[in-house]
Symmetry: C2
Subunit: 157 residues, 2 copies
């Protein structure tokens, strides 16, 4: 399957090291999503949603690792049990706050994404679709709030 970038994500983060590792650690961090100008028609009515699901390419990742030690633990876990970028298909997902839209530029908040990241898709975030009621979070239950303060390093670069 061939997929193509449909835009680019701009953020204050030029280096993988010291980035927030999730939107929960990027409160107040503003960024911009610039979508290809021939796709502007597809943004109609998106501004009614406070949050968007953004899919993007982990473009600085060049390898696959099936077993990884993520930022929030000292133990290795299977890649599919983590959000680490060294996935067989290096697609990242962040739920971002949508502040405003001006032509082909979306102003977004809680950005935990590297500057220059290729955008793949935008979907409206809908709790009725995306938020199950009773949730268990496996190994992450030891430190779910760690994502608010933990910063990245270059282990996956």
């Amino acid at each position: 399957m061939q997929i193509r970038p449909i835009g680019v994500i701009h953020s204050p983060f030029n280096n993988i090291a010291e980035m927030p590792i999730q939107p929960s650690g990027a409160q107040g961090v503003a960024g911009k999503i610039e979508i290809d100008s021939d796709l502007v028609e597809g943004l109609k009515d998106l501004e009614g949603f406070s949050h968007i699901i953004v899919l993007y390419q982990f473009h600085q990742v060049t390898r696959t690792e099936l077993s990884v030690t993520p930022f929030l633990d000292a133990t290795a876990h299977g890649i599919f049990a983590t959000r680490a970028p060294t996935r067989p298909n290096p697609i990242g997902l962040s739920v971002l706050a949508l502040k405003s839209i001006s032509a082909n530029v979306l102003n977004v908040g809680n950005v935990d994404i590297l500057d220059g990241t290729p955008l793949l898709d935008i979907k409206p975030y809908v709790p009725e679709f995306d938020h199950p009621a009773e949730v268990r979070i496996g190994w992450l239950q030891k430190s779910p709030q760690g994502s608010q303060t933990k910063r990245s390093d270059e282990r996956f670069a």
Copy 2:
């Protein structure tokens, strides 16, 4: 960017018509995700999570439409303000219940996905990462619960 299927999703739905349109309309619908056997190492510790984010290819969609009339409204909206499949990059996203894992097979619930759909990625669902607190849902506020009963038709096939 070239991405490759890493497995296949099995469900009771052989036709696009009459499918549930979201996991919220597929309560109790069981399915299986068969992941390539050389990727089993990547599933380690995933069973601790009650829900997974599944990315997949809308493989029966052959066109892009920037303006669509979704199942839950009678009005056209921009494709990025909907979850409709005719997206520039036809990647689907569902949050599924994870029941159990046996070798390379995941038993999942709330499946709103067509049988035979190519799997692209599995991520653990983590409310701390994926569930913002205060949410507005734009045009969908008229009928968020419609996804529980509304069935699909072939408009996007």
